[in-house]
């Protein structure tokens, strides 16, 4: 690479880096002021891009004008979301995971809204600037790039001025450092949080208007940029100047790497950098004495009163068995198909429940292990000709091994673990797309054989329903046994209080690794069933959104409750089916329902069930020994 090419790459790197900086600043500010990672920040980028586009095409206003108005608009949207959704959840002192899921729900709803308004197809910005290259100090650059750089730097300078020299900005810094003391001097924490969301929203929108002319405006724009923006913020240590520099550095590194390496590895490198930065600089130095589920109502063991009586327990099991038989006998093919998908998800969700609910470790990369299992099983039967059912243990081992390989990431905690596992999931996803010799790339694998039991081929929806239910039941019993054992106590102890676990002779990292490997193995088994059931897999089945869906199932079902995990999977898969009548509004409602769940039922369905069961149990005294 000669100097001229390199310097041009640096300019385009700085341009995209500017975008990362602006979005990253939104992350950094919210994290500093509220200790929250706002996944909806990406949608501010997307909304900014679309609003800017509409302003330009409908009124013909100049680009700079559209930039300012779109920035203002997304700032207002940011405040509205904070007031309407996040503040009520914060006020209820809901656990961290609920807030994360609520912002993900918002993200889904906003994307769906954008599809309704602007459509699914990416839209190009009109040609605003001349494409004639400008030569500046011997470096060729596009006018567009220079505008983006100019506006981006102006926005960052304005922000820096605000935090350094205005009273409001200084008060913000004080309140973020120490809200209680700042409150004594009349700085309202609530106003401060609202201000944070306004600024973050505006920054996201600004970034959207800046990046859309380079990449088109599309409903998925936010997703492409949030992980990198978070990486920028992490590189900069979540400081204001640091994040600005971090974004620029990341943009340049990424662009230079793309110039030197095959382009498909560009994103893998960015995600790897993010994980490395997190592991080096954001690993907690001391074990935390508090639980991520501290304020959650966490299910441990049974709903005490109701299941105290053996008769009641038997009655519930009998009722479930009856429903199952009725479904097997009378449900139509379509209903069974949806149910089968839900039960496959439930198997993966039980594994995630072990990691998130019982051991207290966020994982936003679960779909990757689901995928590893699916590919392992599919290839074992198509390439090696092994029986499909043998794929189940093969998938469990493959996904478990992958879990073991990446388990060092469990040294991270809280938000950083969430983002780290997210990046990990993305890397594995990109490998599925790019390791064509192993996965056949984006084309996927066709003709995955059906499972056979002796000479009987499992083909009908009914027979799959029986097979999948049996595997689910087996895994449910296995996890229940783990929960009620020395290992299970150690896992819950790690979730509850790592400091006390250490003092009790338990190595948190070792126990987390066990849970993670076992949880990944469950996902692998689910992946194997999925592959042989659908008979076709490609990487699209194992994206970040699938991981998000698994976490949503866990939280809606109820953190820490195995039965809740299954119910959560059923609800999350069945609900959108029943919402199909709503057509385009389906995902808006779905996202809204997720947010509503987090607001009004933070303990999940398991908590609701427990309350009902306790009421039904009436005066029966809780059982003595477990």
């Amino acid at each position: 690479m000669d100097l001229a090419t390199a310097s041009q790459l640096v300019v385009s790197g700085l341009t995209i880096g500017c975008v990362y900086s602006l979005v990253g600043l939104g992350f950094a500010l919210t994290l500093t002021a509220t200790e929250l990672v706002n996944f909806a920040q990406g949608e501010m980028v997307m909304l900014g891009a679309f609003i800017g586009l509409s302003l330009i095409t409908m009124t013909g206003m100049p680009y700079v004008m559209a930039f300012l108005l779109a920035t203002l608009a997304t700032g207002l949207i940011g405040v509205a979301l904070e007031r309407g959704v996040l503040r009520p959840i914060l006020d209820r002192r809901a656990p961290l995971l609920n807030l994360l899921i609520a912002t993900l729900g918002l993200s889904i709803a906003l994307q769906a809204l954008a599809i309704i308004i602007w459509g699914r197809e990416p839209i190009a910005y009109p040609q605003i600037f001349s494409t004639e290259p400008i030569i500046l100090f011997g470096i060729r650059a596009q006018a567009l790039n220079l505008w983006i750089l100019g506006l981006g730097f102006a926005a960052m300078a304005a922000l820096q001025y605000f935090f350094r020299f205005t009273l409001t900005g200084i008060a913000w810094r004080a309140a973020s450092l120490d809200p209680a003391t700042a409150a004594l001097y009349g700085v309202s924490r609530r106003r401060n949080v609202a201000l944070t969301f306004a600024i973050s929203g505006a920054l996201g929108g600004a970034a959207g208007v800046l990046m859309a002319p380079l990449f088109f405006a599309s409903f998925g724009l936010g997703h492409t940029v949030i992980v990198k923006a978070f990486a920028a913020a992490a590189l900069g240590g979540f400081g204001i100047v640091g994040t600005m520099l971090g974004g620029l550095a990341l943009g340049v590194i990424e662009t230079l790497a793309a110039g030197a390496l095959p382009s498909e590895y560009k994103n893998i490198i960015t995600f790897a950098i993010l994980i490395a930065v997190l592991m080096f600089f954001f690993r907690p130095k001391q074990a935390a004495g508090r639980s991520i589920t501290e304020t959650a109502k966490v299910a441990i063991g049974d709903a005490a009163g109701f299941f105290a009586s053996r008769t009641r327990r038997m009655a519930v099991i009998a009722a479930l068995a009856l429903v199952w038989l009725l479904l097997l006998a009378f449900a139509d093919t379509y209903a069974l198909r949806v149910l089968n998908m839900a039960l496959i998800s439930a198997i993966a969700v039980l594994g995630l429940q072990l990691v998130v609910g019982l051991t207290g470790q966020f994982s936003f990369g679960h779909a990757a292990f689901f995928g590893v299992g699916a590919y392992a099983s599919a290839q074992a039967s198509t390439k090696l000709g092994l029986p499909a059912l043998l794929g189940l243990p093969i998938a469990a081992v493959a996904a478990g091994l992958m879990g073991l390989i990446v388990a060092p990431i469990l040294r991270l905690s809280g938000h950083f673990l969430a983002i780290g596992t997210l990046a990990l999931g993305e890397i594995l996803f990109l490998l599925m797309v790019n390791l064509k010799s192993v996965t056949n790339g984006a084309y996927g694998i066709y003709g995955i054989p059906l499972p056979k039991l002796g000479s009987y081929e499992i083909e009908s929806e009914e027979s799959f329903f029986v097979l999948i239910s049996a595997v689910l039941a087996l895994i449910f019993v296995a996890l229940r046994r783990i929960l009620n054992s020395r290992l299970g106590r150690a896992l819950v102890a790690v979730r509850e209080n790592e400091l006390a676990a250490l003092a009790s002779g338990i190595s948190p990292l070792r126990e987390k690794t066990k849970a993670f490997v076992a949880g990944s193995a469950c996902a692998g088994i689910a992946g194997s069933l999925y592959a042989h059931y659908i008979a076709y897999i490609n990487p699209e089945g194992f994206t970040f959104l699938v991981s998000v869906q698994f976490v949503t199932m866990v939280v809606i079902g109820g953190l820490g409750s195995l039965a809740g995990g299954i119910v959560g999977a059923l609800v999350v898969i069945l609900l959108p089916e029943y919402l199909r009548l709503l057509a385009d509004y389906r995902l808006v409602v779905y996202g809204g329902l997720i947010v509503g769940f987090m607001m009004f039922l933070p303990g999940g369905l398991a908590d609701l069930g427990r309350r009902i069961a306790t009421r039904l149990a009436g005066p029966v005294s809780p059982r003595g020994a477990p």
Partner: protein, 254 residues
């Protein structure tokens, strides 16, 4: 016999020397005390000994073996248990489960045994439960064994932490300000408790602010001030040391 031998421990936090060249020993069977004004480094010292914080310099020998490079969980396995100044419990677990976690090291059932439940695993579970019940009875918490740890009274939570530490069958028990937040009658009960722990053959090393408790219980006391040992000896000698009075009362010449 010397059970714990701490030699030349130093710990810095940035520019602050939290501990410098701290040397002391604990003999098997004694009740040993560590006192000092606020911020003198007592809790830091306990964190270094139990492995929660790495030391910058110095050696720690437990029963003759160097342990300064071991993580806290391994030190617990060797028989070094502790409680915390700020109570650290598994709040959403029951009182009994908390103590069963404390007994973790005495069991060996792992994932395979949990899944297959062989007879030895069931027997082990029964043994752990009995052991935990015995520890709860010892500190007088049998009546609340099925309560969630977060719901029991503050004084009970302190006792629960002690029961959890005892469940591991430790040889040395580090108690970090066990009387903090207790009223005089609770403190008296706690003193009796400590004496009964020692009677079980467990050595107790105590950090405490309550002078009555320390002077009444400990055979030997070390005084820390600004991270340095300024006095050591029997309660009477320590009380008669001028440097100790200066440290606590802050004479101008200090």
């Amino acid at each position: 016999m010397t059970l714990l031998q701490v030699q030349g421990i130093a710990k810095r936090f940035g520019g602050l020397a939290a501990l410098s060249d701290v040397t002391l020993d604990v003999r098997a069977g004694e009740i040993r005390g560590l006192i000092g004004p606020n911020g003198s480094g007592k809790s830091t010292f306990f964190n270094v000994v139990s492995g929660m914080l790495p030391a910058d310099a110095g050696t720690i020998r437990f029963d003759g073996n160097p342990i300064e490079t071991l993580p806290p969980d391994r030190r617990q396995h060797l028989g070094l248990a502790r409680t915390f100044q700020e109570i650290q419990l598994f709040y959403d677990m029951t009182v009994l489960e908390n103590v069963m976690v404390g007994a973790h090291r005495t069991g060996r059932a792992d994932i395979g045994a949990a899944l297959l439940r062989p007879p030895w695993q069931r027997a082990e579970e029964r043994r752990l439960r009995e052991l935990a019940r015995e520890c709860l009875a010892f500190v007088g918490l049998s009546t609340v064994e099925n309560e969630r740890a977060r719901t029991i009274a503050y004084g009970h939570q302190r006792l629960l932490e002690i029961a959890r530490a005892l469940a591991a069958g430790p040889r040395l028990l580090l108690l970090d300000e066990p009387a903090a937040g207790m009223n005089p009658s609770e403190t008296r009960a706690l003193m009796g408790q400590v004496e009964r722990i020692v009677a079980r053959g467990i050595t107790v090393f105590l950090v405490e602010h309550n002078m009555k408790m320390v002077m009444g219980l400990c055979q030997r006391i070390t005084v820390l001030h600004h991270g340095q040992v300024i006095a050591e000896g029997t309660p009477a000698t320590v009380q008669a040391t001028p440097a100790v009075l200066e440290a606590y009362l802050g004479r101008a010449s200090a």
